[in-house]
């Protein structure tokens, strides 16, 4: 598959050279990869999910109806 080669992101890596290529790789185990920042990563995800759920519930509960009998109420 060549999709990742096709992407301009690969070009930045190519430009940066072999040393930079290794930067950003990290271990396969996410706990090891995040290291001492593991708690921060989890906290960010909890905040993110709570905000997403807040907006989804808010939007889901909205009801739309024609404004005052069609369009008569529009200024």
């Amino acid at each position: 598959m060549a999709a990742h080669i096709a992407h301009p992101g690969s070009l930045i890596l190519a430009l940066a050279g072999p040393a930079a290529k290794m930067r950003g790789v990290g271990p396969a185990n996410p706990t090891q990869d995040f290291g001492p920042l593991w708690i921060l990563a989890i906290a960010l995800n909890v905040i993110n999910t709570v905000i997403v759920l807040y907006y989804l519930v808010r939007i889901w509960r909205q009801q739309e109806h024609p404004v005052t009998g069609g369009t008569a109420g529009h200024p």
């Binding site: 598959m1 060549a2 999709a3 990742h4 080669i5 096709a6 992407h7 301009p8 992101g9 690969s10 070009l11 930045i12 890596l13 190519a14 430009l15 940066a16 930079a20 290529k21 290794m22 930067r23 950003g24 790789v25 990290g26 271990p27 396969a28 185990n29 996410p30 990869d33 995040f34 990563a41 960010l44 995800n45 993110n48 999910t49 905000i51 997403v52 759920l53 907006y55 989804l56 808010r58 939007i59 889901w60 909205q62 739309e64 109806h65 024609p66 404004v67 009998g69 069609g70 369009t71 109420g73 529009h74 200024p75």
Partner: protein, 467 residues
């Protein structure tokens, strides 16, 4: 600047701007994983076959939901659908940061594909509903610029984050937050239909629907397939039974055109850098830029298509697609003759035009205005689901078909046959478009030209509302 602020004081432009952001985020979603793949592959120790699987599952999820995406959009409304896809983007993006093997990555890509597959029908339906036919082409062209800009910008966001933090996982954690302001914008700016928006002015409603249409219709049946009388419908809609949506030659031809055009354009842009390195013997950096130049051509093509369709062609849509198919076929056919030593300027020109032509297709631009005009804005979701399904099937088979067409020669891989296949797809897509009814002239556009500009007799099964 003042003109832009004035423009965005109109509700329809606020809706369009929010739909654009949602579509942009949808493409951030697709391209961020691709941009970070070299790092993810090294981190998770993935083989080429496993990488292929990970990419394949996204397309599979995306294609599978298309038959339902339109129904759900029309059923629950584009606002809620858009909010669900952006919410899913935010949540699934951070889960990507916690994968530890390729199986988990493939599963999350499948879920991504399913969630993102619902966005295009929602954004398209909003644009079709909120804009009058006279400016719908330009509005939708602007909406479509998102899919050309995102692939250009995303690597410059996600790769530096990975490099600075030392892990690709932080890129996903940061990008997950991009969905939140868009959810806030959806909550604040989007209303499913103009006449249901308490903030819209009467003057803007007149621009969108016309005075006569507003006086005539006050209905609340938003599904045009369920209405029995014209008066039951809201302004801008006409009765459109299911038979007219699905047993429709135009929708079937757009399905075919979508299949051929996306097979060619995805096959081309994915394999261009490999072709550049292996056949033209270009350095990786230059070969990779062939893809970028193709996206740049698509950006210019999308922008120009709306202006041409609305202003020069007086809201005709199909001539743009006919030109696009021919342009794409001719340029890729020409590029199939390129060999090592071809001037790089010539290669850039060819792939810029190829990208430009590929954007002038029923899966690149103007598809929402066309479906709104051949059917009705309220049926854009369902009919577009069929068209996008054709396109996604083409995208899915593009990779293995292209690989099978590459011939191994003593001088290295030869892409001549693959390029001829793409050019043939351009011709087949053109033929599909040639059979499409152009609603403004009530016959096919080629028939209109051959008859010396005489309008035809095509009519929808129920009357079209006055513009």
């Amino acid at each position: 600047m003042e003109a832009v602020l004035h423009l965005f004081s109109h509700r329809r432009y606020q809706v369009l701007g929010t739909a654009w952001l949602a579509w942009f985020v949808n493409y951030i979603d697709r391209t961020k994983t691709a941009a970070l793949l070299p790092l993810i592959i090294a981190s998770l120790g993935m083989t080429t076959r496993e990488t292929g699987q990970v990419l394949f599952w996204f397309f599979l999820g995306y294609a599978c939901v298309q038959p339902f995406a339109g129904f759900f959009t029309d059923l629950i409304g584009p606002k809620k659908m858009l909010a669900v896809t952006i919410g899913a983007f935010s949540v699934f993006t951070w889960t990507m940061a916690f994968v530890s093997n390729w199986h988990e990555l493939a599963l999350r890509n499948l879920l991504f594909g399913i969630a993102q597959g619902f966005e295009v029908t929602a954004g398209s339906r909003l644009t079709a509903t909120w804009f009058p036919p006279a400016t719908r082409g330009r509005a939708f062209a602007f909406h479509q610029t998102a899919y050309t800009i995102a692939p250009i910008l995303v690597p410059f966001i996600v790769v530096p984050i990975a490099q600075i933090t030392g892990s690709w996982r932080w890129s996903f954690l940061v990008v997950a937050f991009f969905g939140l302001p868009i959810l806030a914008a959806i909550n604040r700016f989007i209303v499913d239909r103009p006449e249901r928006d308490p903030k819209i002015t009467r003057a803007e409603l007149d621009v969108i629907f016309g005075e006569a249409e507003l006086r005539r219709k006050h209905g609340e049946v938003t599904d045009p397939a369920r209405a029995h009388r014209l008066e039951e419908l809201p302004p801008g809609e006409r009765i459109t039974p299911y038979s007219e949506i699905f047993a429709n030659r135009n929708v079937a031809l757009m399905f075919g055109a979508g299949f051929f055009f996306l097979l060619a354009s995805w096959g081309l842009t994915t394999w261009l850098p490999t072709y550049g390195v292996q056949q033209l013997k270009l350095p990786l950096l230059v070969a990779g830029s062939l893809s970028s130049i193709s996206y740049l051509g698509a950006l210019c093509g999308v922008l120009l298509s709306g202006v041409l369709s609305d202003l020069v062609l007086k809201t005709k849509r199909t001539p743009i697609w006919l030109l696009g198919g021919l342009l794409m076929a001719a340029t890729i056919g020409w590029a199939s003759t390129f060999r090592q030593g071809v001037p790089i300027g010539l290669a850039y020109l060819a792939f810029f035009i190829a990208g430009f032509g590929a954007s002038w297709t029923p899966t690149g631009t103007l598809f929402a205005p066309y479906l709104a005009e051949i059917l009705t804005p309220g049926a854009v979701g369902r009919s577009l689901g069929v068209v996008v399904l054709g396109g996604m099937l083409g995208s899915t088979v593009a990779q293995p078909l292209t690989a099978a067409m590459v011939v191994q020669t003593p001088a290295g891989p030869d892409f001549h046959r693959a390029f001829l296949m793409f050019a043939t797809c351009g011709v087949l897509g053109f033929l599909c478009c040639a059979g499409l009814i152009e609603p403004r002239v009530r016959r096919t556009y080629l028939g209109y030209l051959v008859s010396g500009g005489r309008e035809g007799t095509w009519q929808p099964t129920s009357p079209i509302p006055a513009a």
